[in-house]
């Protein structure tokens, strides 16, 4: 059994959070190929700008390089992976086997997720699993670490996987009144950190956090609301209208639209490629600006322990966001000295 000096896992993310720093995590989407270079290139954009990198697990039910394999590459590249695992693709045997392997490969953080339904992805005819749900996964992995047992109750012989276990919550998904309680269930199951669905609507998030604080959940877990830089007004509207649990205030959409005003009212043919490039650049700059402001406002909310930046297929945006939010450089918290048990 590993002695981790009072830490559950001793991961960098856990050390940063436990020592009271405002944490920054970022997302990296593995490629739809076996190309290791994609991970290495994206990793280079994130290195030094976050305390942990989330690796999505067949995000939106589209086959991608496995989060554990991508996580192992990040370990080799000197970044700290937070592997995501969904309940859609694995039963409890496969989950536990893969998590033993993940730990053996140097992975120390896990985010337990339900997973998008396979009907969204590129294999809609697939059989889904959902043997256990995300709350049960949190409990299973916590028990593997703390009780050194498998889900079946059998004792583990040898090294247990000491993972820093997190879960997700979508504060604005329905029924909204139940969300803080469901979050509480995940924390009770053992979730040490929580990353949320993308937040744009600060007043709505504050209402959610009021209830979270009333229930005392913010003292039992580290809450990292999700943020994301908008790329265009169309993207903002798409997210608002199509992604459950994402609220985007009209004023933010208007801001994005106003940014494109110099090019507005022109048909596609009237815009030169240079025009389009300039407009896109202006939108992206405004999106990053909004994201920075969002982080600054979230930081003021009691009970918020960090942010999770989801710059989807736009990892380049993380650096200016982290710098702009005054969150660079990232803290260095030395790893605990191994202590003889």
């Amino acid at each position: 059994m590993t002695n981790t000096n009072g830490y559950l896992s001793g991961s960098n993310l856990e050390r940063v959070l436990k020592n009271g720093y405002f944490a920054v995590t970022a997302e990296l989407g593995p490629p739809q190929s076996a190309d290791r270079q994609v991970i290495i290139k994206k990793a280079a954009l994130l290195k030094g700008y976050c305390d942990g990198v989330n690796l999505t697990d067949n995000q939106t039910a589209i086959v991608r390089m496995s989060s554990i394999a991508a996580g192992a590459i990040l370990v080799q590249e000197g970044l700290e992976p937070i592997i995501q695992m969904v309940c859609r693709d694995r039963n409890r045997l496969a989950m536990q086997a893969d998590l033993l392997g993940a730990y053996a490969l140097g992975i120390r953080n896990l985010l337990c997720l339900t997973g998008d339904h396979q009907s969204f992805g590129n294999h809609p005819g697939a059989k889904n699993v959902f043997d256990i749900d995300s709350t049960q996964m949190v409990q299973m992995v916590s028990d593997m670490r703390d009780k050194r047992i498998f889900q079946c109750g059998e004792e583990m012989k040898g090294q247990e996987p000491r993972l820093f276990v997190g879960a997700a919550e979508s504060p604005f998904a329905h029924p909204v009144a139940f969300r803080p309680y469901r979050l509480g269930k995940k924390v009770k199951a053992g979730a040490s950190f929580i990353q949320t669905q993308i937040v744009f609507d600060i007043p709505a998030f504050k209402i959610f956090m009021e209830k979270v604080r009333e229930l005392g959940i913010h003292k039992q877990t580290y809450l990292l609301p999700g943020v994301s830089p908008l790329k265009s007004p169309a993207m903002a509207k798409y997210m608002r209208d199509n992604v459950p649990g994402i609220l985007i205030p009209d004023e933010l959409i208007k801001r994005m639209e106003a940014t494109g005003a110099p090019w507005a009212g022109k048909s596609k043919d009237e815009l030169t490629p240079e025009d389009k490039k300039a407009r896109s650049k202006a939108w992206q700059a405004e999106g990053i600006k909004i994201c920075i402001e969002t982080i600054q406002q979230l930081r003021e909310v009691e009970g918020v322990a960090g942010v999770h930046i989801m710059a989807i297929e736009w990892e380049e945006a993380v650096k200016p966001i982290v710098e702009g939010a005054g969150l660079y450089p990232r803290p260095v918290v030395p790893a605990p000295e191994p202590v003889a048990a």
């Binding site: 309940c87 859609r88 409890r92 339900t114 997973g115 998008d116 339904h117 009907s119 969204f120 889904n128 959902f130 043997d131 256990i132 749900d133 995300s134 709350t135 049960q136 409990q139 299973m140 889900q151 997700a168 919550e169 979508s170 998904a173 329905h174 029924p175 139940f178 309680y181 469901r182 509480g184 269930k185 009770k188 199951a189 669905q197 459950p244 649990g245």
Partner: protein, 226 residues
């Protein structure tokens, strides 16, 4: 009830193939109620097959008969003679009915005319919806009489997931979110505290995952004491 839907005539024609003598067997129970395989549908399918084969220049002899319950051998005894005379039996029963015929008449070639869909109820005229997944270990007592296994697209026991919006599931605006239904019902009954407990992983052994299922009731078996 078991809810089923008729296969297309094209598929039925392919399944019947070159058989000259065809017996269409309807069932008087679930599939009658859901208008998929009762006596009326059996007569229609038989007529369609007759017409189609005539048009194709290879007229088949197609008759039809409907038994009260295709899933019980004693009702199948009634059609033994007819079954013995044909090249193919087209069952308009559910999957259980088709297999009961195959099992009861070892020399009969039987093909399905229906797709068995689910265990459900008619929610309005012409609409049926799934209600039970036959998991073998009923948890409706925990969820206000609404089944998360059958009615949540992900069969979550600690739902709802983040895909619940305006009462519907992320997979389709026409699919109600099972967990929103559970929440609303428990809320209206003043029993929301029931959702605060973490439900442990389900033992799927009682479901299909444990292999083909069987119930033996010793108290009901015949001839055990002799």
């Amino acid at each position: 009830m078991i809810v089923a839907e008729q296969k297309t005539l094209e598929e039925i024609k392919t399944l019947v193939g070159s058989a000259k003598n065809v017996l269409v067997v309807g069932c008087g129970t679930c599939v009658t109620v859901c208008f998929a395989g009762g006596s009326r549908e059996a007569a229609i399918v038989a007529a369609e097959l007759r017409m189609a084969s005539k048009l194709a220049g290879e007229a088949k002899a197609v008759s039809d008969v409907t038994v009260q319950r295709q899933c019980e051998w004693e009702y199948l005894d009634e059609i033994a003679e007819q079954v013995g005379k044909v090249d193919v039996v087209l069952s308009l029963g559910c999957g259980v009915g088709v297999q009961a015929i195959a099992e009861h008449f070892p020399n009969a070639w039987v093909v399905p005319g229906l797709n068995t869909k689910f265990l459900g109820i008619p929610t309005e005229q012409g609409v049926w919806a799934e209600r039970c997944a036959a998991c073998g270990d009923c948890i409706l007592g925990l969820t206000g009489g609404i089944c998360p296994i059958a009615r949540c697209s992900k069969s979550l026991l600690n739902g709802p997931c983040g895909g619940s919006l305006d009462g519907h599931c992320e997979i389709d605006p026409d699919v109600p979110c099972g967990w929103q239904l559970i929440y609303d019902r428990l809320n209206s009954m003043g029993k929301l505290e029931m959702l605060m407990d973490i439900q442990p992983p389900k033992n799927w052994k009682t479901s299909r995952d444990g292999g083909p299922r069987k119930i033996v009731r010793e108290d009901l078996r015949l001839g055990k004491e002799e």
